[in-house]
């Protein structure tokens, strides 16, 4: 079994690539499945209203904003854990913060995605919805891959950070293509 040196070069640790395969494939499968479902399923337009918000749309917009904010926490804590924040003393609970903020962000996105897929489906009618649809598939695929990579040993050192970066980027794109669009067209409100 190849050594536990996770920062070794690929040439010296071919097993590193092999362990990537299954998580990446499963993540890809998740992304494609979401896309296919969104495309085939006839959108129903049904929404669930949450008290205090003006419509199901604003519930989603704010949930996405919460998730995106937590994603920033994710980014900072990840940078801290990998020692990329010079001069910052990294507290021991950073790992816990990263995990729990990540879980919270993910769980915030699930109801939004369910509603988007069920009520609206995959849409290509304009650049914004196309981007949002694709980013949504990518986000859940990348997140799945990251979750499946984490418990594995012998990974190349860049694997988890790249999976995390893709998840982060996808979520930012999701926020830009929905919440920001909503705030700038309809208004900044609940």
């Amino acid at each position: 079994m190849q050594g536990a040196d996770s920062t070794g070069s690929p040439a010296a640790h071919p097993a590193g690539y092999a362990t990537l395969l299954v998580p990446v494939l499963i993540g890809g499968l998740v992304a494609i499945t979401i896309g296919v479902y969104g495309n085939l399923h006839a959108p129903t337009g049904i929404g669930v209203n949450l008290a205090g918000f003006s419509s199901p749309l604003t519930v989603k917009v704010w949930l996405t904003t919460v998730a995106a904010t937590l994603a920033l926490v994710q980014l900072c804590s990840a940078l801290a854990m990998y020692g990329r924040l010079p001069k910052v003393r990294v507290p021991s609970w950073t790992g816990g913060l990263h995990r729990w903020s990540g879980r919270a962000a993910f769980l915030c996105t699930v109801p939004v995605a369910v509603h988007c897929l069920y009520a609206l489906g995959l849409r290509f009618s304009d650049p914004r919805t196309l981007l949002h649809s694709l980013a949504g598939c990518l986000f859940f695929g990348a997140f799945t891959t990251k979750m499946l990579l984490l418990p594995r040993a012998g990974l190349p050192g860049w694997a988890v950070p790249i999976a995390g970066a893709m998840t982060f980027t996808a979520l930012v794109v999701l926020w830009l293509s929905s919440s920001l669009w909503f705030f700038t067209t309809t208004g900044f409100r609940l």
Binding site: G45, V48, P56
Partner: protein
């Protein structure tokens, strides 16, 4: 780090998603089944279930609207067995010079709405058969043209002016929404056209006077006109 943490996170997400999907499907099923009549309204039981439609959340307004039909069914699905006579069910919408036009066809009948969002609007109704539309409205408004499952082409006359029409088929939740109710004795009729890029154009008349409504929420049908909340539904030409 516990080995199971990530997997548990994923599984929790999947479980939450599954629960929400089930709730959504239940909500869809119960909304399109025979609805209990709100005060004073006779809802048609077992509304023809030709694909789930946008279902407005029933609120207390004494609305004179019925559960939506398949007015905004995807235009590519032809539900008419006598396809050679009635035009295909569906919705077509697009921008024209005088305003935005949307046409909804069901069972060989059509309802159309032309609206510029400011001061011009017209509702038109008429038959949609043999590939032709022949609709008319108040004050000499008229829409004639050819219709197939992809587009409508022809001419529309409004306020004395005639313009060309060329609009394409649109899919839910884009389409034509209509609300008709009474507000303190005045008749309120509102129309909203939702285009595929997410933009909306709409106007309402309250007791004959033009009013600018809020945008309609396509997932609940709710909109506000002059401070009154109304519920719009996909316009039903057979009503």
């Amino acid at each position: 780090m516990k080995r199971n943490g990530p997997l548990l996170t994923l599984l929790t997400g999947i479980v939450v998603a599954a629960v929400l999907f089930l709730l959504s499907m239940q909500a869809t099923r119960s909304s399109t089944a025979a609805r209990p009549a709100p005060a004073g309204q006779l809802a048609s039981a077992a509304a023809p279930r030709a694909g789930a439609g946008v279902v407005p959340v029933p609120d207390g307004t004494p609305a004179s609207q019925r559960p939506p039909g398949s007015a905004t069914a995807p235009a590519t699905v032809d539900k008419q067995p006598l396809a050679q006579r009635a035009a295909p069910d569906g919705t077509w919408a697009g921008r024209l010079k005088p305003g935005v036009l949307a046409i909804s066809v069901k069972d060989g009948k059509a309802i159309a709405y032309l609206c510029d969002g400011r001061k011009t609007e017209a509702w038109l109704k008429g038959p949609a058969r043999d590939g032709r539309l022949d609709l008319a409205g108040k004050n000499g408004a008229a829409l004639t043209g050819t219709i197939d499952k992809e587009r409508v082409e022809g001419k529309v006359t409004i306020a004395g002016r005639t313009s060309d029409v060329e609009v394409g088929a649109v899919r839910k939740p884009s389409g034509l929404y209509r609300a008709a109710t009474d507000v303190r004795g005045a008749k309120l009729v509102g129309g909203w056209i939702v285009l595929e890029n997410g933009t909306q154009v709409g106007l309402a008349t309250v007791g004959g006077r033009l009013a600018r409504p809020s945008e309609v929420d396509v997932t609940t049908g709710r909109a506000t006109v002059d401070g009154t909340t109304v519920t719009a539904a996909p316009a039903d030409p057979t009503r």
